[in-house]
Amino acid sequence: MIAMIRSRTAPIALIAALAMIAVACGSSSSSSGSPSAAPKPGGVYRTALSSFGFTGGFDPTGEYLGLAFDFYGGLLRTLVTYRHVEGPAGNILVPDLATSVPQPTDGGLTYTFHLKPGIMFGPPLSRPITSGDIAYAFERIDSKPEVAQYAFYYDGVIRGMHQHPGPPTPISGIEAPDDQTLVFHLTRPTGDFLYRLAMPATAPIPREVARCFPTAGGYGRDVVSSGPYMIQGADHVDISSCGAIKPMSGFDPTKQLVLVRNPDYGESSDSRDDRSNFLNGISVIVDSNVSDIFNKVESGALDGSLADPPPATVAQHYLTDPSLRADFHADPGDRTWYLSMNLTTPPFDDIHVRKAVNDIIDKAALLRAWGGPTQGEIATHIMPPSVLEDQLTNSFDPYATPGEAGSLAKAQAEMKLSKYDSNHDGMCDASACKDLVMINRNYAPWTNMEPIVVDDLAKIGIRVLPRELETSAAYQTIQTVNNDIPIALNAGWGKDYADPFTFAQPLFSGASIIPTGNVNYSLVGLTSAEASRDGIMLPSGGVPSVDRQIDACEAMTVTPRLTCWINFDENVTTNVVPWVPYLWANNITVTAPSVTRFAYDQFSGYISFTQIAVNNQTSI
């Protein structure tokens, strides 16, 4: 077995070693070109991806894909937004449509916004945006047939929002006393409410166009711009009647998305620091051949990659060639990859087994299997440091082992405390430790990690049977509660916005457990009612719950809130132990020399279209 692992991981280890050398010689990411030289406006960022993968047809009301949020950064404006840059600065809220970021009143229950004057919708409407257009966006979120995929951020939080079964209707908790003022009334103090108002679904939507698309996803082909860019062909859409509206020519979800400058963009109402808008346009084509995308970037036919990570050989090429190194950008993805354990399934219903698994896994080898340090940082707890404002970093490492390579002695010491180690020799010897199904993805790097995990677990007597599935099938398998999957290697989670609530609530709230589509894979906080509903056995001692802690943190604001979430992360990592977090992953972008200024949008996790610059002479 060991020989097999060596042979499978040797090329990866070589690449990783080369990558480490390269990283040691250069920075891990950042801007291309001379920082002091102001980029010249113009040109088109030409890029490609293997598939858009939109989850809601690109309709802002329902769409829940980070890549779509990246495009919306140029297409849509919200009451508050981000600066569309990398690092902590990219997670700070700034006013966008609103004149300022307001403080809540009425004990945290009321937020009042005043809109900047003169901001317009782009073609085909070209009319001023009013507070009613923002209220209408919330009405769409509240309309069940629109299937707003993150409506839970607003349901039960804004008064009167509860998923109305029919078409959009006014919401009692949202008032628009005049065209420039908008007031939100909440049912409970919600510390991250302003972050929720920076989500693209809350951007103004014109009723006269969107009413023609009464069901989920339909409006995605005709999104009317409120930002610096619009979908090409928006100015040729006939909106005289619903029947006359045809899809904008610049967007075909299976082929391309082309954005051009919005002639009605209110540049004076925006901050150049938040959106520099150097580009004249953005051209994204679908290219099914990922290698071909990176060849095109290297040849200059494209200006950069977008969503596809570079194949290992391409990464190695860029990291080891000094002339290309500056074009390789690795930025924090605010995402944790983890090995998930099911708290209701033996032997993982025993915390000592879960801790022993944390002690034995060779995280350093897993990182090498991903391609080395450029791919990210070894995770030592649940949430990426950036989500916790860098106040809880990898210095908090309750399962530290030398070189993060795992420790057999430490793991066996923990296993001896387990009821599944009857003779206390440090090996899981019960029948429950044998032939456990482990779900995994069927492609690299997951397939590269698999032998490492299988072998590590075998060292403490846990024998797993990997089942490799396509991404969606793998997720759906572990999302179906009564499948009772004991352990899974396929899981990862990224933030929605830079607040720990977006990790804590979906992943660890007992109340959020549903029979299918469940993302609390470890079933933390599962109640006996939920267990009997979903047809599974609840362990005799029950499972730990952190629901109270989540509710308490959610209601807090500013400093006590952050401290609360740090305590939460420490508690889950050390006392609940649902996962083996192994990687806080980077997102990799490769650019061509034509990109004179590179920037990364920390909110969306992709290249920042409103901050980058190119020097090509391409026009659309």
Partner: protein, 321 residues
Amino acid sequence: MLRYIARRLLWVVFVVLVITLLTYLIFFVMPPTDPAVAFAGKQPTSADIAEVRRLFGLDKPVWAQYLLFLKHLFLGDGWGWPGLGFSFTTRSPVRSIIASRAFVTLQLSLGAALVWLSVGIPIGVLSALRPRSLRDRLAMAFALFGVSAPVFWLGLMCLWLFWFKLHWAAGSGYVSIGTSLGQWFSHLLMPWIVLALLFTAFYARMARGTLIETMGEDYIRTARAKGLPEWKVVVKHGLRSSLTPIVTMLGLDLGTLLGGAIITETVFNLQGLGLYSIQSVYRGDLPGVLAVTVLASLAIAVMNLIVDVVYAFLDPRVRFA
């Protein structure tokens, strides 16, 4: 003849119906993923999943969904005739997606067929006329290479060498003929050749084998005894009857390719039916899967019919029954 064609057309409809029924059953009995869960978002609620199920019509019994599909297929739906439904992933009518993609696949298939016929048959004929000669051995070595080289490898190598390194050829992607005739041709040339290579090898071997067999027939000896020139003996008497199995193969191959040349389209980024079908399968987009299945099965069935009709012209011994 007309009665024969009408009867065969009815058979085509029956075959297509059976195939769509099987596709439906496979999709529901062995689903890789649940579309409702897949399209309800990253952290769905049970209500979201139920709403998506209702929206996609997945809340109805399977038989009701299938009958609705048939009704739309034959009578049309809100987006025209034939009604192919609304894509779960792109949230747009499948009919327009299929139309644009079928045109790309058609160009790829017909162009490749032209290449493999115009190269494969002459190679086969030349080999057959001088069996075991150097020319024959070289031709068969070429055929062996063509059969052995996988399209995905050959495509990637050709792109890397002729586009990326040598800059002799246009890169991947499709340019419509209306945009630029030159660009259209240069972007399709490499896919045509790569796709045709495998078939060229098969056709060359087939042409060689059948022609060698035909040239040993009595009527060929008679033709030669009558004093006909050799080219006339080969072309008029030998080739004509040896073409019959090749026409059969061509019909079946074209029919299969019209359903999508998945690997070639993926490697060369040609947004055709093959690429769409594989993407639809991966995403659990049932309307997309069904639309391609209908079109592919229709193409194969119709090409079979055409082959049978052409057969009778090529071989007078065949009569319509």
